[in-house]
């Protein structure tokens, strides 16, 4: 096949195309450009040998910085916004016998924002929660409820022998527990518990109230009351769930 530029003998259109092609010259060799490109290639190779992977350090440093920032931001977001969603106590649904009346509506009780100093100092708090509320063990449903309420609610269901506590009784003991553990107001807790124990000498929550009364008196430093309530517990519940706790306070001088 002959090139079009050499075939201009036909019609005017063919002649015109041949003319256009004849006016375009082929690309000529450019020795100067060839030399320049070779020099540039040599330089690029020298750079690559002299400083291998230099470009990677800024990239790695940037990646590390981004990871650190993203990780910190994620941790903050999780702690501030996502974590509370899981730890927020839902509305309390007390466990009551079918015959019992519906308890009055109360403000939702939330877990104290940080572990109370009293609780750290006194094993009674842990003891009370663990013994009175086995639901505190990592079961999904129990984890969402406030420990104080779990303790009371669990007590009501776990002690078939005990009478079902009335909503009023439950409210009184819960108030005392909140005053003691959340508000760290051992004085008010003591008053509430004294009132409850006086009003309900055979109440369904007497055992828990006595244990809390020991804890409250201990938090106040009232050794007389500690001994008194510990002795009362020992007499009423010699093999109760808080017997060890009461005994330890009984023997303390």
């Amino acid at each position: 096949m002959t090139p079009m530029r050499d075939d201009g003998s036909g019609d005017p259109d063919s002649r015109a195309t041949s003319e256009v092609l004849r006016q375009v010259s082929p690309t000529l060799p450019d020795p100067e450009m060839k030399r320049r490109v070779w020099v540039a290639l040599s330089r690029s190779e020298t750079r690559a040998v002299a400083a291998p992977h230099v470009w990677r350090w800024p990239v790695l440093a940037s990646a590390m910085a981004i990871l650190l920032v993203a990780g910190t931001a994620g941790a903050v977001i999780a702690r501030r916004f996502i974590g509370p969603m899981f730890h927020r106590a839902p509305q309390v649904t007390p466990v009551v016998a079918p015959a019992a009346a519906t308890p009055p509506r109360r403000a939702p009780v939330r877990r104290a924002p940080e572990p109370p100093a009293v609780a750290m100092a006194q094993p009674a708090v842990d003891l009370g929660v663990v013994e009175a509320a086995p639901a505190a063990r990592p079961s999904r449903g129990a984890r969402r409820a406030a420990p104080a309420e779990r303790a009371v609610a669990r007590t009501a269901t776990d002690s078939p022998a005990a009478a079902t506590p009335s909503p009023r009784e439950r409210a009184e003991v819960l108030d005392a527990m909140i005053a003691l553990r959340r508000d760290h107001d051992a004085g008010r807790a003591g008053q509430l518990l004294d009132r409850y124990l006086a009003a309900h000498p055979h109440g369904a929550l007497r055992e828990e109230a006595l244990a809390l009364a020991i804890e409250a008196a201990d938090a106040r430093g009232d050794k007389t009351s500690v001994s008194r309530w510990a002795r009362a517990y020992q007499n009423d519940y010699p093999s109760g769930r808080f017997a060890t706790f009461a005994r330890s306070h009984l023997t303390t001088p």
């Binding site: 096949m1 259109d13 195309t17 256009v20 082929p26 060839k34």
Partner: protein
Amino acid sequence: MRLRDARFREIYETWFDHILKWLYAFGVPSSETEDLAQEIFLVVRRKLARFDGANLAGWLYRITQLTVRDHRRRSWFKNLVTRRREVDLTELSHGGESPERRYEQRENRRIFQELMDKMSEKRRTTFVLFEVEGYSGQEIAEMHDVPLGTVWTRLHHARKDFRRLVKSRRREEQKNP
């Protein structure tokens, strides 16, 4: 792989001018030819160890094609951001020829490039390589890694396109002299 490698040097010496012609066939402006040639040979150096040695012209042509494609993509984005004006080095003055002759050459090349831009890449490269750069059909077939018949078919259609384009251009010039 070292630059001193005799194989790479041999390829460079033999094929550098061909690659410039191919770049022209792809419609790359002269201002970008040098950078692209360097980029192509960087790729060649990197990939030479893995080359099976079967069709060197086809392998180099394919590298050129892909490099030009990448370059166009990058340029498109860069121009979008910076609105850089392309400067064709052929437009810059250089000694040796009269201004009239330079203007004429520039004008011819510009018109030819305008016509070529209206053709598909396969037809355009086949046409330019055969009609302007003087490659044979067999050489183009090796470069494109296609049978010889395919080259003639593409050339046939490219010629038809070219005639049509020249004709319509002449008609426009007669309408608007």
